[in-house]
Amino acid sequence: MDITIPEFKHTISLKSEWQQDFIQGLDCTVVDNKRIDFPERMASGSGYFVKISRAVSVFIVDLVLNEPMRFTRMPSEEDFWIVYYDMSDNYSKHFVDGVKHKTGYKSKLGFAIIDSHHESTYVSSVGERVYSLRLCIRKSFVKSYFQDVTLEKDFKNIFDDEKGRMFYYGHIDSRSKVALYNLKQQSMNDTNYEFLLKSTVHKLFGYFVERLNSNAQSRGLFLEKDLNAIMKTQEYLLSNLLLPFPGLKLLSEIANMSISKYRNLYRNVFGMSPASFFKNEKLILAKELLESRNFKLISDIAYELGYNKISYFSEVYKKHHGDLPHTVFKAKLD
């Protein structure tokens, strides 16, 4: 952290009293108890604070710094989360407990959840537009939305109070990004800004809860159509286990994809390559055949499965199942 930059320490809480810090410390003026105008020598722009309900409040900052400044939020006694969306034009640096994170519109990580017990520092570059929105949500309020649903892996530890003092970084999801982008176009001086802000906050909170709630982590990562195509090739492989591996070219043609797209997608969906999947299935079938007593010789099974050399078959079989085909075959015969 660059400690030569002057630091301004402030608190944030669910109630509006903390605005005093900005008035006393930075000579800000507060309009309507909501909008906080910064003095011109320091930054041009404003902050906007609205209490949405007893459990939720929002603080939004839209400014261009005219002199370097570090904003450090002091740990708070109140038990809430700060859900943080950063849509700044450029990278900003965010320090939580001394760990640096890059946030901003261009950065993939514009979304963060920070426990109010943590201290965090926000540093952005002079002359760039900073646009960030913080939702302060009382923990007990979020929990009320989760009675018997399992949480997404990423967030799992958050509700655990032992480990709970943690933070999470991620991307802003699409719908929130669109909502924030719309809000970004509005001016804080407009009379209807409060309504637009409140509306956006309700939406964001909804999306946030949905995100916490969604079990299907990969939803949206794969197109349904692509998945169907992949499944089709999978079926093709399973019904042609006795033949040699057909090759990626044929499979990708069945799926109507390029080879590289097919290979990557297959790997992402099943966690292995089509070839290893095919081999695994073949060897499982081999075991069934060995135990079925329909064959007199192991070599018959090996030929049936498309292996030309019995020794190779034995070797592969042992690698996969742990013992030689011979052992299984004998045990069944006896």
């Binding site: 939305y145 999801d173 800004y193 509306s199 309700h202 939406k203 809860v209």
Partner: protein
């Protein structure tokens, strides 16, 4: 024809008024009903002591006359209609059509009694916002152009508020988006609140910019513009037919068509068409069934990069990214 009378007022006791009048059963803030008169859902949401909202989603099984009686003078109702067919709005023996091709935003003083005539089989989806006049006056006072006006407008002796208008495109997109949320979603209330705030915000903006001005009597020109707008929306996946063609269809000169269109929708025909295309593109991407290039083909974009460029300038995010981060 069945006659149903709602007399509400004083404490916004909508739940107790609506349920017996319609014959539905109360479940939390919902009233659900399925009887010989209608099938549908009402949702009541009090905000603070000066604002409350009501959602009506009902399909009538027989023709009905709905009478709204309040008898108090301190609030204003804003009614946003999303209806395919037309319904008749009657006030002081004067009947007006409300629907997709006519007015769909009504602002009515609580002092005024009014009726709706709803035909058999008509689905009505109405978002109603009730605001105390004192609250609305505060907001309007903050807008410089309206300040001088608000004194007279809110003087009950001089004036009763009634205005018929069309909601902005943004508002209708919002309501349509909102309709996708199922009633049993735990987040329903939350999104509903979000919708209401945005609708109020949009309406104030509409007042501010004064882009949409329709005189009380809607003339034939305006009607044919609205009809042509509806047609345009139906063919939004095609190519833009051009103002000349549209004007010819509406029997107007191109310059008149363009001028009127812009006045009514706040957007020029082209901008209106292309922004609706993008809305559709966004919806298609959300379904997860199509790739970006398929969407671009489906909507007749010349190439993906053009779609991506327009999408990004409207929503601030590229389509591929939008899809993968959903």
């Amino acid at each position: 024809m069945r006659t149903i009378t709602y007399s509400y007022g004083a404490e916004f006791n909508l739940l107790e008024v609506l349920a017996p009048a319609m014959g539905g059963s109360i479940e939390g803030n919902f009233i659900k009903g399925n009887n010989e008169l209608y099938e549908g859902t009402h949702f009541v949401m009090p905000f603070d002591n000066r604002v409350s909202a009501l959602l009506v989603d009902a399909t009538y099984k027989e023709s009905a006359l709905l009478e709204y009686r309040t008898g108090v003078d301190y609030f204003v109702g804003m009614y946003f209609h999303v209806i395919k067919e037309d319904i008749n709005f009657i006030q002081k023996d004067e009947s007006t059509l409300v629907g997709r091709q006519d007015y769909n935003l009504l602002i009515v003083d609580s002092l005024l009694d009014f009726d709706y005539v709803v035909d058999n089989g008509v689905n009505t989806y109405v978002v109603c916002i009730f605001i105390y006049k004192s609250a609305l006056k505060e907001y309007m006072d903050k807008i410089p152009i309206l300040k001088s006006l608000s004194k007279d407008v809110f003087n009950a002796k001089k004036n009763t508020i009634i205005s018929m208008d069309r909601m902005s495109m943004d508002s209708s997109i919002l309501i349509n988006d909102f309709r996708k949320i199922p009633y049993d979603s735990p987040l329903f209330e939350l999104y509903f609140k979000g919708l209401i705030y945005k609708l109020i915000g949009n309406y104030l903006e509409q007042l501010l910019t004064k882009k949409i001005i329709i005189s009380k009597v809607m003339n034939d020109d305006v009607k044919s513009i609205i009809a042509s707008k509806t047609k345009l929306l139906e063919s939004v996946d095609g190519i833009f037919p051009g103002v000349d063609f549209l004007a010819k269809q509406a029997c107007m000169s191109p310059s008149k068509y363009k001028k009127l269109f812009t006045k009514i929708s706040g957007l020029s025909p082209g901008t209106f068409f292309y922004s609706n295309k993008l809305v559709l593109a966004k919806e298609l991407l959300e379904t997860g069934k199509y790739t970006v290039s398929e969407v671009s083909d489906k909507l007749n974009y010349a190439n993906i990069s053009y779609l991506a460029k327009r999408f990004n300038s409207k929503y601030g995010i590229f389509p591929k990214e939008y899809q993968s981060l959903l």
